[in-house]
């Protein structure tokens, strides 16, 4: 991970995929799987027959041009698409072997097992402590809240910066700190999967690189699924990469190194070399 920040500005066709040797080898179980997934917004199809299995405790990147459906796919996993009235989902999304679109699944209960980090940092206008403890509070957590807050802030690499100001407002932090606060908030209830929707696109490069380092660490304990439009970022931090192209089609899904060095599909090569998209 030593070279993660150095090539930020380089636009190169030969992106070096970071070989996350430490956890690349052993075959992992499946955390999330999609089967024949179609999503429509009204009459428009946003996801077109996607089938893929996402391994647990790995970083999986979803890349593709804007409007390709990668964010839609992410929001299917914790059913945030339910909030959009015209959105219709067909097919299965399995989480822990259970189809989350089954009739007996409560999306609220589902979301308690899946954390989410948004594009724009959105800490609540509460104290840092209350922000991190939010998930614990709504789930009726009965243990030591303060210990869990500290643990989560450490997990989000924010503890050292805020340990003396836990009672000040989360809005007083800088943008990058706010985003790490949101990550701490997401991991505090100890979810199994963390969804990240372009978590660094609203941040400056330095703050972004801190988040990238953090994502790498998070994969030790959590399954991380990250949407990014930044191909270098996908190459640097992910183990697996899925390339979506216009129309919501999953064109290729493989180990990150393979995608960036030797993609099967011409269209994928065109996209990552900048000829298309």
């Amino acid at each position: 991970m030593s070279n993660t920040t150095s090539d930020d500005s380089l636009i190169t066709t030969e992106v070096q995929a970071d070989s996350n040797d430490d956890r690349a080898a052993p075959a992992a179980g499946t955390a999330v799987a999609a089967r024949d997934l179609d999503v429509f917004y009204g009459d428009e199809q946003a996801i077109d027959d996607v089938t893929m299995e996402i391994p647990e405790k790995r970083v999986t990147a979803l890349i593709g041009p804007s409007g390709c459906g990668k964010s839609t796919f992410l929001r299917c996993i914790n059913r945030m698409n339910d909030m959009i009235e015209i959105c219709r989902v067909e097919g299965d999304v399995e989480f822990g072997g259970k189809n989350v679109y089954d009739g007996d699944v409560d999306p609220v209960a589902l979301r308690r097992k899946i954390g989410m980090v948004f594009q724009k940092p959105n800490p609540f206008p509460k104290s840092i402590r209350d922000n991190v403890a939010y998930g614990l509070k709504i789930q009726g957590f009965d243990g030591d809240v303060d210990a869990r807050v500290e643990e989560s802030l450490k997990g989000a690499a924010l503890w050292d910066e805020v340990k003396d100001q836990l009672d000040s407002s989360g809005l007083e932090l800088s943008g990058g700190q706010q985003q790490r606060l949101c990550i701490a908030r997401a991991i505090a209830p100890d979810p199994e999967v963390i969804l990240m929707d372009e978590p660094t696109s609203a941040l400056d490069p330095v703050a972004a690189s801190k988040i990238e380092d953090l994502i790498d660490d998070l994969a030790e304990e959590y399954t991380v699924i990250i949407v990014t439009h930044n191909m270098q970022q996908a190459a640097r931090i992910s183990d697996r990469t899925a390339v979506f192209l216009t129309g919501g089609e999953l064109v290729e899904y493989d180990d990150t190194a393979k995608i960036f060095e030797d993609p099967e599909e011409q269209r994928v090569e065109d996209y990552i070399t900048g000829k298309f998209g």
Binding site: D82, D104, D106, P107, A109
Partner: protein, 324 residues
């Protein structure tokens, strides 16, 4: 929050939680239902007593009668709404003569001429005009405006008169015209103004020739709202206009054309629909009497007129919202 597909999941979520969620949702829905119930209650209350009234006094007689005396000393009640309508129309029209031109000019000034600073001061100040209790306006009309008018312009004016009351109603409804009209004018896209300036129009020509016609539906809806507010206004007229239901004297001018001298209406006391209602409350309020029921018939007429005007104003206002 539009999560409409929420499905129960007994295995993951306790019944207590769902009960709590349902209770809160139900409570909020009940609160919302109260607003609907209020409308229904207004309608039913007015209609039920009004129907009793119309059983004794036929609707035709009520609508065409030219005599209103619900509690006469010597007997012989009369329930004709015409003199009340004349009173209400007098106040409404006179007030409109004040609120409409002044309100429109104010809106043009705020939208086209005022600096942002001046606007941020003037707008909340104008809202004060609508926030003063109406009984205070009535008191002003009775105690300050009438004597001032009497001392200067109209020596023959009576203590209770329609003019002073109407002036106050007009001033009170200025912000209604100005704020809605200004919203409509501000919604006119700047490109239209630029186009006008590009053709060499002056600011005056752009304001009156482009902005006002472009926002005419919003302006019209503000007029209707202000008039509807003036129709329902009670305390100003009760305090300052007196309570004499009378028909104006019809005079004959040249060639036998009948006309009404405006001074005869404006400078004398009169009675509006709302004053008639208030006056009846001086008697028995437990219900069952004819005057009591007539109050509800008047209320129904007032409610119907203001409701229709609001709906019309709403429909007109929809148009300008759609245009841009």
């Amino acid at each position: 929050m539009t999560d409409s597909t929420e499905s129960p999941d007994l295995s993951r979520r306790g019944g207590l939680t769902r009960l709590k969620e349902g209770t809160y949702g139900g409570l909020f829905a009940a609160c919302a239902a109260i607003t609907l119930l209020t409308t229904v209650a207004i309608f039913v209350t007015l209609l039920s007593d009004a129907l009793v009234f119309f059983r004794s006094v036929p609707i035709a007689e009520f609508l065409t009668g030219i005599n209103w005396s619900p509690n006469p000393a010597g007997g012989g009640q009369a329930f004709g709404i015409i003199p009340l309508l004349i009173g209400t129309l007098t106040v409404t029209i006179t007030a409109a003569f004040i609120s409409i031109p002044i309100g429109t000019l104010t809106a043009i000034y705020l939208s086209e001429y005022a600096t942002p600073n001046a606007r941020s001061i003037l707008k909340p100040l104008l809202e004060i005009l609508a926030g003063i209790p109406t009984v205070v306006y009535g008191y002003f009309a009775l105690v300050y405006v009438t004597p001032a008018l009497k001392a200067t312009l109209f020596p023959e004016m009576s203590t209770f008169n329609a003019l002073a009351a109407s002036i106050m109603v007009g001033i009170m409804t200025i912000p209604m015209v100005s704020s809605i009209s200004e919203d409509a004018m501000s919604a006119v896209p700047d490109e239209l103004r630029q186009a006008g300036y590009g053709l060499g129009a002056t600011k005056f020509e752009v304001s009156t020739g482009i902005v006002v016609p472009a926002s005419i539906s919003g302006i019209a809806s503000s007029y209707i709202l202000a008039v509807s507010r003036a129709i329902g206004e009670t305390m100003i007229v009760v305090v300052a206009m007196g309570a004499q239901a009378r028909m104006p004297e019809i005079q004959e001018a040249l060639f036998g054309i009948p006309f009404v001298n405006p001074a005869d209406v404006l400078l004398q006391s009169g009675m509006t629909i709302t004053v008639a209602m208030v006056q009846i409350t001086g008697g028995d309020l437990t219900g069952g009497t004819l005057p009591y029921n007539s109050m509800f018939a008047l209320g129904l007429a007032l409610f119907a007129v203001t409701l229709v005007m609001n709906v019309i104003s709403d429909i007109i206002a929809q148009r300008y919202r759609e245009e841009y």
